[in-house]
Symmetry: none
Subunit: 217 residues, 4 copies
DNA sequence: CATGAATGAGACTTCATTCAT
DNA sequence: CATGAATGAAGTCTCATTCAT
């Protein structure tokens, strides 16, 4: 039961985790510039010096926090969508449109549970502007080929209209982010999933009436 | 008629304009917290005290700047789309889908010309979070009924699929914002229009292949 | 009586003077690193920000203080020795050996009155080491040609032994500094003049018995 | 009796030596306040705690370093000058003036080889000011009687002019220090010996032309 | 009404010292 | 006895805001 898993690594890691978790909360709540590192240290139950020992300076602490957030998101979505299956299995099971929907909803779920992550991304841009490449976009780039691949398969399978795959990837991701950010700004952090859901459905099926003989009938 | 364009007020107004314009540039480039009010005063060619006399404090200066940005955007889009015509005329001329497309592109055009506006919106959230309602969302709310109305007409005319109008409005606006922000973050401020264009087209027509009957046939 | 001399320049200059004077005292008493700029500000009766406004940062404040010290020394010695006369007049009046003696004693007098200056020079070296050229050595370089010139004249007049002028200049200045520093370190800041006096006399006349004929006779 | 040269003590002594040697280098290069004890510990290959165990605190470590420097100097000069001979033998061999010259040059040689020692002395004053009696002056005091004695003998032997012995001792030592410090500050650490040599020669023989009888002849 | 010098609260960061391991 | 992670006091510097001129 009590397997005693590497005590040394664990203790140091625990402390780092604690600092990052609290940093996430405080940065999200107060904003980067408005955050006093002392507060984070206090909440994490460590001295201010310890925070600096581990992360160097406030900027690096923030960047580490941003990375931490995105990684948690990545893990969550991976687990939620994949559930130990392979991509072909998932496509076979769901079909491409439904799979895309599931992926987006999995992301939305995470952000609804941890809306601080969105605030952190906004803070990151607000503070660093062009000087760094946004953490969550790095995640997006890393997974872009996956998304593009799925879309291509969807087109090949005749489930998606034959469109430019990259533009479609951008559109679906931009839509997700638009929903998340607007949702946050409107103070509806607890309705992110449904907002994303309805938006994705509209994107998948289109707003325009498909001709459509049937309508006039 | 209006023979004396009150020179005094005008001079004061000019100064305010100058301050706001420079504030916009500096806030967008440096971020709210990283901006020294002195710099804005210098660029505007006035003393620091004057800035404070006109705007009270740094926060109010920023908020005035944000409002200034959004109003400029509003004017631009209005003019670009309406061109002295009435809404019914526009719909008759373009049809609803094309009109929606035009509206979105007009907005995108403005933001591509003045990407600082996007940065300002990000700064606004980053600094004030829940404490104020975002300036650009106020614009969105004000024009929501217009957008909703157009969509309803589209549905009634059989040009749009019969969907929840408010959800569709949200989706199209979220998509716009997603494109703008992601475009900015990716350092592609000069491709905002084409990004919005391809995304809107996808949203209008949908990703999923329609009347698949024909495909399988 | 009350001539009202340029009030603007004077007021700003007065404040700078006040800051420098107090900086000199505090730096000399506490050492550069051990000095809190706040203390200097308090003593000068200004805010900390004012000190930074005028001098940029602590290092520049210190360097300005060092320069201030050396300039005061320079003025003092100039006035004390020259007394409105020209160099030839002085030489004619005193002869070279006596003039050298007077110069050294004038310097020594200043340092005895303001021993902080010596401490400042020590601090300068202690803090900046090779990174800057010592302020008081710059003064020394500037006046080197003068000293060398006097010595050359002394040799030409047969009052000084024909030695290497530059080495002699170095020796006499090094002796001065050795006296000043050692005097300070031994806590005999109020005996600097007499220490210098006796040392200079020994250097002028030499330690070795001049054979010499007369002695053995 | 003491056949086992206590290996434990020796090992500890080795560590102390290593710490002191490295402390000397770092203190001389970085200055007292700018030195991070961690750096010394790293260079010495021990933990920071060990440094504190051995020396108590940073100040005591520095003072120990200063003492270490002066002792090394003392040993060097002793060995270089005395070479297993007694004082009378040396005087007989060289005569007093030449012996004085040798002593000064021996000191200068050491400082030229280890100019850090000079920096350490400057640091000592810069940091501690009146609070401690300078380490190298303690050495000077200890050997003062020796120097005074030699001078007295020189006078008695008719080799030196009959001057105040203590003043002469001070002058010659001050001259040495003036040369060392000025040489260092001018960035001529590798010319200390020649600087001292020429200065001492001038002090011994004087600047003023002697027996001017011959001149007028 | 405009100005910009002065202010000082506030936040980052360093590093001497301690102490649990 | 050695270590080095943790601590927090202390000091630098910035900049929003004020106010005398």
């Amino acid at each position: 039961m009590c397997e005693k898993p590497e005590p040394i690594t664990t203790k140091a890691a625990k402390k780092q985790q604690s600092i990052l978790t609290n940093a996430m909360m405080v940065f999200a709540k107060e904003g980067f510039r408005n955050t006093d590192v002392q507060i984070i240290a206090d909440l994490a139950g460590v001295g201010k010096g310890t925070v600096y020992r581990h992360f160097g300076n406030k900027e690096q602490l923030f960047l580490a926090t941003a990375k931490f957030c995105v990684e948690r998101m990545s893990q969550y979505a991976q687990q939620k969508v994949m559930q130990e299956k392979t991509l072909p299995e998932l496509i076979e099971e769901n079909g491409v449109p439904l799979l895309l929907r599931k992926i987006m909803l999995a992301c939305a779920e995470f952000y609804q549970k941890h809306p601080q992550t969105i605030e952190i991304m906004i803070q990151e841009r607000a503070e660093f502007r062009e000087s760094i490449y946004p953490t969550h976009l790095m995640f997006r780039e890393e997974n872009r080929s996956g998304l593009d691949g799925i879309m291509q398969i969807g087109i090949d399978r005749g489930e998606l209209r034959p469109t430019n795959v990259m533009q479609a990837s951008d559109a679906i991701t931009d839509l997700l982010w638009g929903c998340l950010i607007s949702g946050c700004l409107q103070g509806q952090k607890n309705k992110l999933v449904e907002r994303v859901e309805s938006a994705i459905d509209l994107l998948l099926n289109g707003l325009v009436a498909t001709d459509r003989s049937s309508n006039t009938e």
